[in-house]
Symmetry: C2
Subunit: 265 residues, 2 copies
Amino acid sequence: MVIVGELINASRKAMGAAIEAQDKEAIQKIAKDQFEAGADYIDVNAGIFVGQEPEYLKWLVEIVQEVVDAPCCIDSPDPKAIETALAVHKGTAMLNSISLEKERYEALLPILSGTDLKVVALCMSDDGMPETADQRLAIADKLVNGLIKSNVKVENIYVDPLVQPVSTNVTFGVEFMKAIEGIMANFKGIHTMCGLSNISFGLPNRPFLNQTFMSMSISKGLDGAIINPLDKKMMANIIAAEAIAGKDNFCMNYLTAHREERFVF
Amino acid sequence: MVIVGELINASRKAMGAAIEAQDKEAIQKIAKDQFEAGADYIDVNAGIFVGQEPEYLKWLVEIVQEVVDAPCCIDSPDPKAIETALAVHKGTAMLNSISLEKERYEALLPILSGTDLKVVALCMSDDGMPETADQRLAIADKLVNGLIKSNVKVENIYVDPLVQPVSTNVTFGVEFMKAIEGIMANFKGIHTMCGLSNISFGLPNRPFLNQTFMSMSISKGLDGAIINPLDKKMMANIIAAEAIAGKDNFCMNYLTAHREERFVF
């Protein structure tokens, strides 16, 4: 499972303040903590700083990679901000995210075309958010084929079918999971990705519901997630679910996590 | 989800002693506790009492149904014990279990034929335990078709694909879950059932792994389980997984469980 650490995001109040105050030490600590907890990519988002997003995003990439030997997940729809950040990025970044919305699609495709960048591909179009698995698969189809045609390798694409709250419609969990299964079956070598906390919107015990949803989605083939890797229960859940899903040879990763007392229930 | 409460089983040391001592009160308490915790069937097993199984099983059915308004799951391969127990049973019992093993199959089929009894159908044959999904589906096919031919309604059949430990073979979880999916797809109206704790044999943190496995299996269609309903974490898991799986309209069951403070994490 590819884990993107979600904490360095300016839309989180404390983080927004830390970025604005240029509190390098605090942000670097969160980068290191996420990396040590198992993040493969460190998400960086400076979206709230209108007009200053490029410089803040560049600064975030620089200070994160000063202390952590991991690529960033550059979280912006703005081509100028992305390019400024990419110019200083070491290694192969992930872009978060392209979608089928015309403006976003046309802005990001030239940046991705022919590169080795990873990319999150959101199942969203100008017609709005899809509700059924079929609607998601139709968008994924156009999006993935468009990317491939522009020389993006299928194994660099992480499709996010977009989670919607099960409290709004009882079918929303199932339709999301069917989409995961369909995407993994339709495009050999592709990945899926999601920020899953929307599933529990409007319901009590959200972390618990999110964990359960994670296990269920892993059984359908989900192999990427944008989460808080400092959430030890969630991380334990992922490790256990991957062992059961046959993705952990000899349960080595599970046994190591247990030995290192990384399990919290 | 159909829940069979597993605790009144003579092979559990304390329960075996309670049955032998005819400690009616203690056993009735466990029956009531399981029922109140959400068990749909109360499993009764007196298998360790060779020669006395029929009378003990009959007694268990009587004392359980004295205090609990629920059917029993009669847990025996012995036709004489089953018939003695059925003679006093009120309502529609479940038999646990028939399999494709010749001796067991031929002994239980006449008891089931043309009745409304529910039955657990184990994916086991005289060739031993299946390892792959295909092997399980081949056994399920023969077993289910045999039962249907003998006038057992498909909706009364609970196929148990048999869980094997993921510590023995990394594919065992996946193959089990594929079998659940296949059985639910191949026979419209059928149910699946399992005692799932084998999945975690040989690994640390077994209850946690069992819960994760339960959520994952529910996402594949599992709709029955033989468990300890007094395990509040497991019950919380089932309720959450069913909400996500679209089986809980308006999340009513989930919200009720929360309000009644039945959730333990």
